[in-house]
């Protein structure tokens, strides 16, 4: 704005704009072309109002504001800083605040409580009141804060690739609105990344009501429709499953990875683990049968696992249904041989406490079979509830329908909300060409991604932690998403973009969300919903399905494909999902639960297939499907079904940012067809010569016959509850005086039965403790920094191994080998039993790491965190944990900052630290509650009770390190009444 205004007459108009000479009235001015141009450049959103004709009153307001601003622009901006004289309410410097919100996971939300330091979010925890979280988080949620501070997030609207302003977009949106008003939405479409947000739904419904010809398409590359189709066919409406694993004694998974996939996975993991927490011979366990077409965490947790080709699951489901039918008919049967017979016998014996779950990606007939078995067992409404899905916004179809509509010219203007179809579209849809035919493409997304680059307009999306929104959990419970921080850049929520399109001049996401809940929540209830993180009473009611209405399984199982044809199973990357998190270094570097791969993906093949192909790990494999080919490095996955390869989606993105560029990986979307997005048959493989580096954090998969993960069957445990104790007993001699703990003596117990290996703890540890990521090159050298790792061991035959997970933090040994060898006293024993690392003393001899039998220490080989570099990343750091410079050793501290905080609080209140007051980051995130932490000096503490369990043991106890972190031996519950038959495999 002009600065030529005379200071003494601030009310005078800017001369540059009105240099026409004397003017007599404001009206005269307002009618001037110059004013029109001036308002157009400065306030584009208003100029259309102006053009549409404004009343005199509004004009005067606008004019007054403009003139006053014109005067202000002449002033030199004050450079004074304002001291923090009046403290904002509730903000005490140094004391974090916690806000409840929800983070998206697929289309649904998972409740979260976010820690904020002086207005800066630093850490995500689960919301115990939220049914999808129950206090736990997953690995991806932990990365949210780092993603918020990702410097490569889109910062500003782009018009044809050039920076533009939000105001300019508003102007454009209003032009578009005017046009759509006229045409009632003809030619326009919205492509939506589906999300179960009531506000978004309300806005879209309102838009479609206003413009009936507006089209709405949904594109979720990770969605599956099997169950919806099955329920649609059976009951006339699409329904979503709500398994009640706490009521299930016998669970059969037909390729359903319910512990690691789906919006309810955290809740499932919790109740599943709760049903398997064995502490004494009288405790019982549920039993899990898992048939699966790729190794999953559910299969690893199963008591009986069956690996089979994805195309065979339908036949298996039919056979299982038949077996259940037969057994039910003949009454209580004897268990037969084989997986199906055993599973069927257990299901029938369990009756309504049986549960069959089918994988989302499986076709409708598998779901039909599962429903039929559940109905036959009487499990419907008991261990399996069905609810109305929360994101069931009616749409005109998916991406294929959109491409078709563009092809025939029915859609010329497209608003893409959140989706990135140019990366995630099936390979047989030429989305790029279709988009090329669009008159206008508007993209709203967090990154200028593949789609954003092609768009005429790109609007940066506000991060979830910057947004007002709402989202439903897997059971329908709604949460209000509230921002932890004002948008760092010019990000806007989808609500604001839609509101702008609807003609709102100053869209305000809070007002939009509040408007949705105006009727349901009065102001106190709104406040309560924000505080609690859930809107009470919004959970979906189970749909009452009479068992009789479930059709029985037909004979519709086609003959399974066999022979040389290869099945392809597509899976989303557990962390990057469809690729939307590809620019997160934390997630790229977080080892995948089973493969332990980092910074890239590989084609998973069975050991037998690798042997037939003579493929070495990392060797390139050409995979051909329906005329499309990709090349990808081979990785051998023990337990992988033969004749099948697993391809991981979400990698190999071209336009995802600098972090994603560092990662290797292939893009499996380039092979994926739209007809069978999850399971493809008839693929051909050809081995290629070159070898690509595939990075893993665990190079050795066998326990080498050592007593590392001790385990037994439930029967074996009942027979000998202390089976985990070695003979001879561990030595207990020491030359040094014993430590004395007058106050607390911290300790940890990790339950290997409960642990599902989901890696949430590792991710949480990294987020809590400012642990740096090191990048693929350093990972290749073996220098990853995770303080906590989850070791995965295979046992048994390579084609059907048992999979064990063992989280390994610092053991905090009583007689710590690291302490005696440090020449400079940098690692010392504390008064409460911790093995503390004093970073400032450390000179980096690395002797402690040498002498650590658990190899849990991590060294800053180079400068991983540049403290002085300007940038946003440092803002994500936890201010209570020092960042470490190069040349010093670091390791798990049992979250000593949390212990200190609890101690300070207890000392101020003049009391002892209560049990459960100190929760470590790993413990807090664990969905299965496998980690217990507390004061061993307190005999009433939960950790003391866990230590007293008969199957509690110390890792490498024969070394007489006397670790404070101990393990509960893994107990599985296979069929076999005497326990002896299973000794060979599990003893």
């Amino acid at each position: 704005m002009s600065a030529t205004v005379d200071d003494r007459t601030p009310a005078a108009p800017p001369r540059s704009a009105f240099a026409r000479g004397p003017w007599r009235s404001l009206d005269e001015l307002a009618g001037s072309e110059e004013l029109r141009r001036f308002v157009e450049t400065e306030f584009p959103a208003f100029h259309r109002r102006l053009a549409a004709g404004v009343d005199r009153r509004t004009l005067l307001k606008l004019m007054g504001a403009s003139l006053a601003l014109g005067g202000l622009a002449a002033c030199t901006p004050a450079q004074e800083i304002v001291p923090y004289v009046r403290q904002p309410e509730n903000v005490v410097p140094g004391r974090p605040l916690f806000y409840a919100t929800a983070l998206r996971s697929g289309a649904y939300g998972i409740g979260a409580v976010v820690e904020s330091h002086e207005g800066r979010p630093t850490k995500v925890e689960g919301n115990p009141d939220h049914p999808s979280s129950l206090g736990a988080t997953d690995a991806v949620m932990q990365a949210a804060v780092l993603e918020l501070f990702d410097p490569e997030r889109s910062r500003t609207p782009l018009k044809a690739g050039e920076p533009a302003s939000w105001a300019a977009f508003l102007d454009h949106a209003h032009a578009l609105r005017d046009e759509l008003e006229r045409t009632r939405g003809r030619g326009a479409a919205i492509l939506l990344d589906p999300v179960a947000s009531p506000t978004l739904e309300r806005q879209l419904v309102a838009l479609r009501a206003a413009w009936p010809l507006l089209r709405l398409y949904r594109h979720d590359p990770l969605a599956a429709t099997g169950l919806a189709e099955a329920t649609q066919a059976a009951f006339g409406r699409a329904l979503a499953p709500l398994p009640r694993l706490d009521r299930a004694d016998a669970i059969v998974s037909l390729d359903a990875d319910f512990l690691a996939e789906g919006p309810g996975r955290l809740a499932h993991a919790r109740v599943f683990a709760d049903r398997r927490r064995v502490r004494g011979p009288r405790d019982g366990m549920s039993r899990l049968y898992a048939a699966e077409s790729t190794p999953t965490l559910t299969g690893a947790a199963a008591d009986h696992r069956l690996a089979l080709r994805p195309s065979r699951v339908g036949a298996l489901a039919a056979e299982l249904a038949a077996a259940v039918e037969t057994l039910t008919a003949v009454g209580r049967p004897e268990a037969g041989e084989g997986w199906i017979a055993a599973a069927a016998a257990d299901l029938v014996a369990a009756g309504p406490a049986g549960l069959v779950l089918a994988g989302d990606h499986q076709p409708a007939r598998v779901h039909r079979a599962a429903l039929a078995i559940n109905a036959r067992l009487g499990a419907l409404g008991r261990s399996l509830a069905l609810i109305e899905p929360s994101d069931a916004l009616a749409a005109d179809g998916g991406l294929d329908a959109l491409v078709a509509a563009i092809g025939v010219g029915e859609v010329t203007t497209l608003l893409v909300l959140g989706a990135n179809p140019l990366h995630t579209a099936p390979a047989d849809l030429d989305v790029a060409a279709a988009f090329g035919r669009l008159r206008e493409l508007v993209h709203h997304g967090a990154y200028v991604d593949e789609t954003g680059r092609r768009a005429h307009w790109h609007i940066p999306a506000a991060h979830e932690l910057e947004s007002w929104s709402d989202v439903r959990g897997h059971d329908g419970t709604a949460s209000i998403v509230q921002p932890l921080i004002a948008p760092l850049h010019q990000g806007r929520t989808a609500h604001e973009v839609l509101a702008a399109l609807a003609g709102d001049v100053t869209p305000d996401a809070l007002a939009l969300v509040r408007a949705t809940w105006r009727d349901a929540l009065d102001d106190p209830a709104w406040g309560e919903a924000l505080r609690a993180g859930v809107v009470k009473g919004t959970a979906a009611a189970p749909v009452d399905i009479p068992a009789a209405s479930v059709p029985s399984v037909g004979d519709g199982a086609p003959a399974p494909g066999e022979g040389e044809d290869i099945d392809i199973r597509f899976v989303p990357d557990p962390w990057l999902r469809d690729g939307r998190h590809a620019n997160s270094a934390l997630l790229q570097e977080l080892p995948r639960p089973l493969t332990k791969l980092v910074w890239g993906n590989a084609v998973l093949v069975s050991p037998a297939l690798a042997a037939r192909l003579r493929a070495e790990p990392g060797q390139m494999l050409e995979i051909a499907l329906d005329g499309r080919t990709i090349e990808a490095p081979v990785w051998i996955a023990p337990g992988h079904p033969d004749g099948t390869v697993t391809l991981t989606l979400g990698h190999g993105r071209a336009e995802a940012g600098a972090v994603a560029r560092m990662a290797a990986g292939y893009d499996a979307f380039r092979l994926r067809g739209s007809a069978a997005p999850w399971i493809a048959t008839g693929a051909r493989l050809a081995l290629r010569e070159p070898v690509q580096r595939v990075l893993t954090t665990q190079h050795h998969q066998s326990m080498e016959g050592r007593d590392i993960v001790r385990h037994a069957s439930l029967a074996g445990f009942r027979e000998k509850p202390d089976f985990a104790h070695g003979s001879p007993p561990a030595p207990d001699d020491t030359l040094y005086p014993r430590w004395d703990y007058p106050h607390e003596a911290w300790g940890m117990v990790i339950d290997q039965t409960a642990c599902i290996g989901c890696m949430a703890c590792v991710s949480a540890c990294q987020a809590e403790n400012n642990i740096p990521t090191v990048g693929p090159d350093e990972c290749e050298r073996g220098r990853e920094m995770h303080w906590l790792r989850v070791d995965r061991y295979y046992e048994g035959p390579p084609d059907a191994p048992d999979t064990h997970f063992q989280p390994v933090p610092c053991m905090h040994c009583e007689q710590a080998p690291c302490e005696v060898v440090c020449p400079v006293n940098a690692t010392v024993h504390t008064h409460d039993g911790l093995n503390a690392q004093v970073y400032n003393r450390c000179i980096g001899t690395r002797y402690c790491s040498q002498n650590c039998p658990y190899k849990v220490r991590r060294f800053n080989f180079v400068e991983h965190q540049d403290f002085d570099a300007p940038g946003l990343e440092a803002a994500a750091n936890n201010p209570n944990v020092s960042v470490r410079s190069r040349g010093v050793m670091e390791k798990c501290t049992y979250c000593v900052q949390r212990i200190s905080a609890a101690r300070i609080a207890a000392q101020i209140a003049n009391r002892e630290i209560a049990d459960g007051e100190v929760v470590t980051a790993c413990q807090q995130s664990c969905p299965a509650r496998a980690i217990t932490f507390g004061n061993l000096n307190d005999p009433a503490s939960r950790v003391a009770a866990e230590k007293a369990a008969p199957h509690n043991y110390a890792l490498l106890e024969e070394l007489n390190t006397r670790p404070r972190t101990t393990y509960l031996a893994r107990i599985v519950n296979p069929v076999g009444d005497d326990g002896k038959t299973e000794e060979g495999g599990h003893g």
Binding site: D791, V821, T845, Q850, R886
Partner: protein, 455 residues
């Protein structure tokens, strides 16, 4: 008896030919005073100096980037810096053994090789002393290992073998320096007297500390020299024993072994004598002092190597045997994977050099062929370096939890620093030869006098 006498007679003499004082002093002194150097001396020095520059560059790189520039990682967090350290300190041992132990044992053959062996010790210890510092994550804080009173109340942790190590090396370096300088004093006086330039007279004069060669001087010299020898002798055993404690003290399989102290001492002597030969053989040729450093010296050094080498071989055997006999699965796995795991090639090359090549020394022909002996010595030096590297990395690569198993590879800096230290060592040897008498003048004179019956 007759046979024994015949054998002894068959051995070459310690000193060949007849020499008088002037001739000896002139020949040795003129290298220093007149710069009577072989033609290739300065070009060779220049090559060594290039490696000195590499050493400086590597160290600068290390300090600016961090120890991440090495190939080390977790689990194998120690690497070439530790093996270099042990190797160099081992090389130092021969010098102390020759000068101190052989002095006490009245072995006359030590006289013509002790000076440069001592210098070699000193330079090797200087190199060795650098490596623990270059190994540190924060090398600029190395002095925190010292029990210095300071404001941040930092005190060494005396249970750590690294502190013992630091003390042992500091002691060793101090005693070696004193011993070497003590032995130099009479020669410095000779050079002072023969120097023709003022600068030379001043330089050697100041260093000679007023030595006049009086009977009192000689009496005190002898007493002090023998006393220092007596002090240095236990160090031959203690230094490398303590270095070995860095390993034995740790509970890592492949480290935690009681055989290490004697085995390390034997290994040190073995590699030390190999290095003496590596230097002495070209030296005697280049300076045409084959009559002073005779075949007898080479033969004796080779015989010491046979003894030390066989002890080392016994060490290998006993390590393997006790790994099996202990029944300890960790030890067994480590031993097995040392021989057949990721570091197997290094292990077998090491065995071939240290045990295989050694057997050639039983042959008289090899011992009396300077070229063959030199090749054997170089190979044994290589083998001993590999031995240290294999010990350092192979136990860590396969320790208790298989999930952590992993290997390290070598980065350019690992080579840069090692080759740089070799270059620096040789550059120092060149400078030493140019500035100080590389062969003890007065002792060789004494030897010649004894031989001539003039004493």
């Amino acid at each position: 008896m007759a046979d024994a006498a015949a054998t002894r007679a068959a051995r070459p003499p310690v000193l060949r030919g007849r020499h008088d004082r002037d001739e000896i002093t002139g020949r040795i002194g003129s290298i220093v005073l007149r710069g009577r150097l072989p033609r290739l001396f300065w070009p060779a020095f220049f090559v060594a100096f290039l490696f000195v520059l590499l050493f400086f560059f590597s160290i600068a790189w290390l300090i600016s980037v961090g120890v991440g520039a090495y190939g080390i990682n977790i689990p194998v967090a120690w690497g070439t810096m530790i093996s270099n350290f042990v190797w160099w300190i081992g090389i130092g041992h021969a010098g102390t053994l020759i000068s101190a132990v052989l002095l006490l044992l009245r072995q006359p053959w030590r006289a013509s090789i002790n000076r440069f062996a001592e210098a070699m010790t000193l330079f090797a210890v200087a190199m060795a002393g650098l490596f623990p510092i270059l190994h540190l994550g924060r090398p600029w804080f190395f002095y925190w290992l010292l029990p210095l009173p300071n404001t941040h109340m930092h005190w060494p942790q005396w249970r750590s073998p690294l502190v013992w190590d630091f003390t042992a090396i500091a002691t060793y370096a101090t005693v070696s320096l004193l011993f070497w300088y003590m032995g130099l004093i009479p020669d410095l006086a000779i050079l002072r007297d023969r120097a023709r330039t003022r600068a030379g007279q001043l330089f050697y004069g100041i260093l000679a500390l007023g030595w006049r060669g009086s009977a009192f001087h000689w009496a005190r010299f002898d007493r002090t020299y023998y006393l220092l020898a007596a002090l240095a002798t236990p160090l031959v055993v203690s230094v490398h024993s303590i270095v070995s404690l860095d390993f034995t003290f740790a509970l890592i399989p492949g480290y935690h072994s009681t055989i290490f102290p004697p085995y390390f001492v034997a290994g040190a002597l073995y590699s030390g004598f190999a290095m003496v030969l590596t230097i002495a053989i070209p030296l005697r040729r280049a300076f045409a002092v084959e009559d002073l450093i005779t075949a007898r010296h080479l033969d004796n050094a080779a015989r010491v190597m046979i003894v030390a080498g066989m002890v080392v071989a016994y060490g290998y055997l006993s390590e393997a045997f006790f790994a099996w006999y202990s029944g300890d699965t960790y030890e067994q796995t480590t031993m097995w994977r040392r021989a057949f795991g990721p570091y197997a090639p290094l292990f077998w090359v090491m065995l071939a050099c240290n045990v295989g090549v050694l057997q050639a020394l039983w042959l008289r022909r090899v011992r009396f062929s300077p070229l063959a002996l030199w090749i054997a010595a170089v190979l044994i030096n290589l083998g001993m370096w590999l031995e240290r590297y294999v010990i350092v990395v192979s136990g860590l690569a396969n320790d208790f939890l298989p999930s952590s198993w992993g290997t390290q590879s070598l980065a350019w800096l690992d080579y840069g620093i090692f080759l740089g230290s070799l270059g620096t060592f040789f550059a120092l040897v060149f400078l030493f030869i140019r500035i100080l008498p590389a062969i003890t003048i007065f002792e060789v004179e004494e030897l010649a006098d004894e031989k001539a019956g003039r004493a």
